[in-house]
């Protein structure tokens, strides 16, 4: 019997997704390098969007300091690679552990002391800022002068050390995004997913149903932080340079949340859709402006700001819910299928 749960995804949607995946698997063979880098960026933000969505969309905790976890993941693996020659794959568990621990500390302090809503958001900003300034003075990772990874010969792809052509990074980010989607889907239909949504909807009522909200909120934060740090590993080895001023900056945190908000918080596909729309549109507009020779710094951010403004004002639940309804992809239109 078809489940009528909130996130029942119909067969039609799975077929569409499979088709899209097939397309994305072969895309590198046909597009040029520039478009490839755009796609890499899109999947990077799509992955981050999903990681952030777990904390906010599922468990209802607004984090505006997610750049902290990206930075921790980036610096951990980069430092281990530079100082000890450790492959980022081996450094990954350390990165995840450190980011998860940071998330646990923030969550513990916040939830233990009942810091919620906007105050919680400000707390997350404070910790990210703390890291930004702190890492500037952290000599082991070269502080404000920047940490640079040795740029290797791009002709060879060294997957073990994440050195190589953009194509390698493309497939990595694609794989991460797909894995995150699968994880989110599984989580939403699991016991923990139901409990998270209950907490998001009404924490007191959830507690009255036997849910240990403290534990589950912690779990959401720790999972989200750990997942986000993996993107940090990518960031370090793709861009090959790290500056605390950039990595931990609040602008990074805001970039992370734009896609899920625009796409639709709490939904399964919203964050990915948001990433595609936002980055895709932004880059296209930028290309257009480039063609006219007008490239003021900050133009892209103004575009992001306007998008966010319009979505928040006109489509408060994001673009995905009304879109899904229009396309007949949501739950209600699919009941007759089974």
């Amino acid at each position: 019997m078809k489940s009528l749960s909130l996130n029942g995804v119909s067969r039609r949607v799975w077929i569409m997704l499979a088709a899209l995946l097939a397309v994305f698997l072969v895309v590198p063979l046909v597009v040029n390098d520039y478009l490839l880098t755009i796609l890499i960026l899109i999947f990077y933000f799509a992955y981050l969007a999903q990681a952030w969505n777990i904390m906010m969309g599922f468990a209802g905790q607004l984090s505006l300091g997610h750049a902290l976890y990206v930075g921790l993941g980036a610096y951990t693996t980069a430092a281990l690679y530079i100082h000890f020659g450790l492959s980022p794959w081996l450094g990954l568990p350390f990165a995840i552990a450190i980011a998860a621990a940071a998330g646990a500390v923030i969550a513990f302090l916040a939830f233990r002391f009942r810091v919620a809503g906007v105050y919680f958001a400000i707390l997350t900003i404070a910790f990210a800022e703390f890291a930004r300034i702190g890492f500037d003075h952290f000599d082991w990772v070269k502080g404000s002068s920047g940490l640079f990874l040795p740029v290797a010969n791009y002709a060879e792809s060294d997957l073990w050390n994440l050195r190589g052509k953009p194509v390698m990074f493309y497939y990595l980010m694609l794989a991460l995004t797909v894995a995150a989607l699968a994880l989110c889907h599984a989580l939403l239909r699991s016991r923990i997913g139901y409990f998270w949504q209950a907490i998001r909807e009404d924490e007191d009522a959830a507690r009255a149903l036997g849910i240990d909200t403290f534990r589950y909120k912690m779990a959401a934060v720790v999972l989200s932080a750990g997942m986000t740090s993996i993107a940090g590993v990518f960031y370090a080895f793709y861009y090959n340079n790290l500056f605390p001023e950039q990595v931990f900056h609040i602008s990074r945190s805001i970039e992370i949340i734009l896609a899920p908000i625009i796409g639709g918080i709490g939904t399964l596909f919203g964050p990915i859709l948001g990433a595609f729309l936002l980055t895709g549109l932004a880059e296209s507009i930028f290309e257009l402006m480039n063609a006219f020779g007008w490239t003021p710094p900050g133009a892209k951010q103004v575009f992001y700001g306007v998008c966010l403004l319009l979505v928040v004002m006109l489509l408060p639940h994001g673009i995905w819910p009304p879109l899904a309804r229009k396309l007949g992809l949501d739950r209600r239109s699919n009941e007759s299928e089974h």
Binding site: L4, S5, Q197, G210, I211
Partner: protein, 240 residues
């Protein structure tokens, strides 16, 4: 025989205001126990202490022989006390079915089992047909039944109902009374706060009357309603 729930000498102050003052009573297993009294008498505060929302300033609360005063609300639910809220709080963005599933998942960690349990409850409470509807769009009587269904999904031994009849029309009230009687006959102990006297009189096996935070009468319904203190403070000349 030890009572299911024992409340002994419980008091609660809020910034100098005595909300509950030295209240004691016992709820035997299988009872339908009503708590009545004027607004502000301390009934919901009493409920909140039993349910673990906050701890009493004095006194003991014991459930199944073990102390529960001061314990967190999620733990008290696990021990077997379910509750509804005076102003109903279904999860607004979730469907009726998902609402009940959240409750069912407590004792049935497997989602398939939980869903089965939820469906059975939805059928029993006449909510099965609207199970896919989003809770925020429900009418008040449906929302009240949803809240009862959700609390029942946690398999409680004791159910705390806070003014579950409030805002219902007479036919809906009768329906709810029937439902509660059925549940009680099935073995569920119910402790309810109510203002709707006809419901109380037809259901309750025992009544506790609160006034200004203190217990002014307790006993069988027919005795309590004739108690002069009760008549004076709450019932007035209200014909029953």
């Amino acid at each position: 025989m030890a009572a299911l729930l024992e409340v002994a000498g419980v008091s609660k102050n809020f910034s100098g205001l005595r909300a509950v003052s030295d209240v004691s009573f016992a709820v035997p297993e299988g009872a339908m126990f009503a708590v009545i009294g004027p607004n502000g008498a301390g009934k919901t505060t009493l409920f909140n202490m039993i349910a673990g929302v906050f701890a009493p300033d004095a006194g003991r609360i014991a459930f199944l022989g073990e102390r529960i005063d001061g314990h967190p609300s999620h733990e008290i639910c696990r021990r077997g006390i379910g509750r509804t809220f005076q102003l109903v709080r279904p999860f607004p963005g979730l469907s009726v079915e998902d609402n009940v599933m959240v409750g069912a998942l407590l004792r049935h960690p497997n989602t398939a089992d939980a869903r089965q349990r939820a469906h059975r409850l939805l059928a029993e409470l006449d909510l099965y047909d609207i199970r896919a509807q989003i809770a925020a769009t429900l009418t008040l009587p449906d929302r009240k039944r949803l809240e009862v269904a959700r609390a029942l999904a946690t398999d409680p031994k004791l159910l705390l109902l806070d003014e579950v009849m409030a805002g219902l029309r007479p036919t809906e009230t009768d329906r709810m009374v029937d439902l509660l009687r059925r549940l009680n006959q099935g073995g569920l102990t119910i402790l309810l706060i109510e203002h709707v006297m006809r419901a109380v009189m037809s259901l309750a096996s025992r009544i506790l009357v609160l006034h200004h935070g203190a217990a002014i009468a307790e006993g069988a319904p027919q005795d309590v309603v004739r108690d002069p203190a009760v008549v004076q403070s709450y019932l007035g000349s209200e014909a029953l």
